[in-house]
């Protein structure tokens, strides 16, 4: 039973999420659900670069804003519906991200983080100043969605849920692929990874592009749901910080961590916002949560739970001392027999 649940739990969870907006029919809940899925999707994207490869970009809002502006401009100039155009336009943003990455990913560690912030500030500056394309500081308005107002946010809710599922599948697929293994190798020791044959530049650029894709897609859908975008919101640094916060809470480098983090923290920050009104206190609470995570659960919820389970399952298997006598005997066996140590050990075993 627990085994079935362990493997198939996403299915009942999905059914619950499909029913949820029908039970809680208030438009607010639809918007909340949409926001949760939106941030879970984008955090999942961020995690591919920040969690798997270990390159923690603070500037991913750049792709969020680019996705938003691309969707808005395409909707206004060409009449493309953002729900249809966003997945395609996000491809363009991903290509753009890879070009940027080609230059940026020569920097590592703190230098990369600073480069990522610079990237965000530059695109924001561009959005502010190319007034005839972006509308400058006042921003751009998008067409109102064509469906009846009765439906309110419901289409956004289901659309974003679908995108989230795709993001999780892609992320899980990458995690299990050779490519994902290469990214984890880069996170552990980039120099060594390069030395054993991983083309680290190619891997990082690809990961950066895939990572940017989901953030840009989220930005496009967000712009449509918002119906108005402007540089401070589309290119604000807080979106990027939120993505990191959610990912770190759930577990950086895990498939489900970013989603778990968003499912906990997005409703929580709304709740705090209701409690204390529009004052910046909710940001202070988020800051406190972030500090608590770093202090008590630096690896996030999922890795911490896994660690506890491992420690409970095999408390004695964690012996880290020198080679055991048994190992040494096996090796000596290997020497005298001339065969492999394990063969020698097996031969030893069969002797009466």
């Amino acid at each position: 039973m627990t085994l079935i649940l362990r493997r198939w739990w996403p299915l009942p969870a999905l059914i619950l999420l499909l029913i949820f907006p029908l039970v809680f029919a208030e438009p607010y809940y639809h918007l909340l659900g949409f926001n949760v899925f939106l941030f879970a999707t984008m955090a999942t994207g961020w995690n591919i670069m920040g969690g798997y490869a270990g390159y923690r970009s603070l500037g991913h809002s750049a792709f969020y804003g680019l996705g938003a502006y691309a969707a808005a401009i395409a909707a206004n100039q060409l009449g493309w519906n953002p729900l249809i155009s966003s997945p395609i336009l996000a491809l363009g943003v991903a290509v753009f991200a890879m070009l940027l990455g080609w230059a940026m990913l020569r920097a590592t560690g703190a230098a990369f983080v600073i480069a990522s912030i610079a990237m965000l500030l530059i695109v924001r500056l561009l959005a502010n100043n190319f007034e005839n394309i972006t509308g400058g500081a006042p921003g751009l308005s998008l067409p109102i969605p064509p469906w009846p107002p009765m439906l309110s946010r419901l289409p956004f809710y289901y659309y974003m849920l679908g995108v989230l599922i795709v993001a999780i599948i892609v992320s899980g697929f990458l995690r299990r692929s050779r490519f994902g293994l290469g990214l984890l190798a880069i996170r552990d020791d980039e120099g060594k990874a390069e030395m054993v044959g991983v083309n680290t530049t190619l891997y990082k650029i690809l990961a950066f592009g895939i990572s940017a894709y989901f953030v840009a897609l989220g930005g496009g859908v967000w712009a449509y749901a918002q119906t108005h975008i402007s540089p401070p919101f589309a290119f604000g640094i807080t979106v990027g910080v939120q993505l990191i916060l959610y990912t770190m809470l759930g577990g950086s480098g895990t498939v489900w961590g970013p989603t778990l983090g968003a499912f906990i923290l997005v409703p929580l920050s709304d709740l705090i916002l209701f409690q204390f009104g529009g004052s910046p206190i909710h940001l202070a609470v988020l800051g406190a949560v972030m500090m608590a995570i770093i202090l008590f659960m630096p690896r996030g919820i999922i890795p911490s739970i896994r660690g506890w389970q491992e420690a409970r399952a095999a408390p004695r298997a964690t012996h880290t001392g020198a080679l055991s006598m048994e190992d040494l005997q096996r090796m000596q066996g290997g020497k005298t027999e001339g065969g492999s140590p394990s063969e020698a050990a097996a031969a030893e075993h069969e002797r009466p």
Binding site: D189, A193, V196
Partner: protein, 244 residues
């Protein structure tokens, strides 16, 4: 006998310090070649030049006749040169088996986006792990292994890419005598299967017993080369090691 690696008048300096100067040496295919010299004589720098960590300021490095001067480390690895490090470097958070899988050559879409571990590759990895006596630890994270086990894993993992030439940077340092004997046997067996070795080592017994040919570096300059017997009685080498 064909040459597997030729280093032709290579020079490299860090700022004002010349680490390797006008160094020429060549390795026979299928042999075990040693590289000795006092600390700071440029041995590791030479390894870094061969594997593409540094690019030589002048001179040529050729693997089987092809220049590898301007290739990146991953390309050089794909050409068939792999190495281990003086201070063991593994992917610490990964399992033993995953450490074995990462070095498998990455070519084409199947390698990039296929499953991370194919069963034939896992079998090959397990056979190698058995040889070094680590097969029972396949799912343990690399950081949990003992020092000696880590050294063995690093060597085994490097072999997964199917190298023609393996560079070992001090394989016997910090290892107990039993293990040293085990590593020597392993190297000998691998060598008889066709892998060439280039070994930096301070343990003279290890070098003299194992190597077919030895080069001696001092302050970035090659001062002697020859079979172990010749090197052991070479006055210049004795002077470097023992002083006048």
């Amino acid at each position: 006998m064909s040459k597997i690696l030729e280093i032709d008048r290579v020079t490299h300096s860090f700022g004002g310090i010349v680490a390797v100067q006008d160094c020429s040496l060549s390795l026979e295919r299928g042999k075990i070649t040693g590289l000795i010299g006092p600390n700071g004589s440029g041995k590791t720098t030479l390894f870094n030049l061969i594997t593409g960590v540094h690019t030589a300021h002048s001179g040529q490095i050729r693997l089987m006749g092809r220049s590898v001067n301007n290739l990146r480390p991953s390309q050089i690895c794909a050409q068939g040169i792999c190495r281990t490090f003086q201070i063991t470097r593994l992917f610490w958070e990964m399992s033993v088996l995953e450490n074995m899988i990462v070095p498998i050559r990455h070519v084409g879409l199947r390698a990039l986006f296929g499953a991370s571990i194919y069963s034939d590759e896992a079998d090959r990895a397990m056979r190698l792990l058995e040889r070094v006596g680590l097969d029972h630890l396949r799912d343990q994270p690399a950081r949990r292994l003992s020092f000696g086990q880590q050294k063995l894993l690093e060597l085994a993992a490097v072999l997964m890419s199917g190298p023609d030439l393996v560079l070992l940077d001090e394989p016997a340092s910090g290892v107990n005598p039993t293990m040293i004997r085990f590593i020597m046997n392993l190297i000998r067996n691998l060598n008889s299967e066709g892998v060439s070795f280039f070994i930096v080592e301070h343990n003279m017994h290890f070098v003299m017993e194992l190597c077919d040919y030895v080069y001696v570096l001092d302050q970035g300059v090659e001062i002697a080369n020859g079979t172990p017997e010749i090197i052991q009685s070479n006055p210049a080498v004795l002077e470097v090691y023992l002083g006048n």
